[in-house]
Symmetry: C2
Subunit: 188 residues, 2 copies
DNA sequence: ATATTCACTGAACCTGTATTCAATATACTA
DNA sequence: TAGTATATTGAATACAGGTTCAGTGAATAT
């Protein structure tokens, strides 16, 4: 294995383990030494790759922003289908590639008070509520989505998604909901 | 003002301010001095009332457990009505008595990894999902609630409630959903 | 083959923040 | 009114955990 590959691998190892721990235990509750220990490396090495704990966090949030920039253009006929498809994809990922939804939870965490302002702003730059509100408007015109403030509806939907993912991290043994149930928040 | 009253008042002052800060900024991110400062009292005084930061947290969780023990027996004809009423009450409290839903969020936080085990167990002892699942079963028999694993349905409902409250703390300017929308997760 | 770079370690260092404590002011009690 | 208990303060202390760094050995380059 070339040195470059080695390096990339380590960086990934570190960042994904950090994601896992930040999300399950919280940022402050996760010690740098926890991450190092979980990976079987020294604390010093971690600082060789990331200059600080905060930098590591920022790298994660940046990764999260990037990941949501290229939306995997979901195919749909009716707007309600879009929301169901999206939730389905997410819930499936929850089992196969935990990082997808861990990232979701991280992004939400990063939007709170007490987070360094630059990182917070970064996380805040991703605004799914606004984006979905547009799709909801279409659904209302088409008659498949209930009446009401599109932003409020969108917010309700996203809160539910967020809630499901956070609780799933706390209690992974709980059965995940059907994607359709969440969509029913919006359906007429 | 008698000394006893004085004491009780201070304790309440402290604990409610702590609740507010723990919930908005997070436990570790909240300094004892933040709480003291917000109240205009000295750090030392805070320790006069609560022996440690952890004890303060535990007192809050205990308060949360107590509060949920006496469920304000909600009146309802159909089970779906129960869930709507509940959410309505909660969302209304969000504006009038912030502590009600701050407590909700705190209890959820307290169930995570990284929290001292005894406190965590305390928080875990409140299990709304199980309780609601029973009501959901009745609704399914009555035909007003959709088919599916009652526990999964109950979980979905609670995740949404939880999600709404957490996001409302992050973005208080967002319009709160209608209680009925959330109930639609369950409705047939 | 030698020099250079770089992954890696563990212990020392430093800072922030919880906690302690001696001192003071104020309220109760007799 | 004297004496005791309690509320309150701010500065000193302790320590956890993030960060630095000098040193080692293996990979890479020349």
């Amino acid at each position: 294995m070339t040195r470059k590959e080695q390096k990339e691998m380590r960086q990934k190892q570190i960042i994904f383990k950090a994601l896992e721990l930040f999300v399950t235990k919280g940022f402050s509750e996760t010690k740098i030494s926890d991450i190092a220990e979980a990976l079987g490396i020294s604390v010093g090495l971690l600082f060789h790759y990331y200059e600080s704990k905060e930098a590591l966090y920022k790298a994660l949030v940046t990764m999260g922003v990037e990941a949501t920039k290229r939306p995997e253009s979901i195919e749909y006929n009716d707007p309600t289908e879009y929301f169901t498809r999206f939730a389905q994809g997410l819930f499936k990922a929850a089992e196969e590639q935990p990082w997808v939804f861990q990232m979701f939870v991280l992004m939400s965490q990063a939007r709170r008070q007490g987070i360094p302002e630059d990182i917070r702003q970064l996380a805040l730059s991703v605004d799914q509520v606004k984006f979905s509100a547009e799709i909801i408007k279409k659904g209302q015109q088409a008659g498949s989505i209930k009446e009401g403030d599109p932003t409020a509806l969108s917010f309700a939907y996203w809160c539910s998604i967020q809630g499901v993912m956070e609780q799933h991290i706390i209690s992974p043994e709980m059965p995940l909901p059907e994607a359709e149930w969440i969509t029913d928040i919006l359906k007429k």
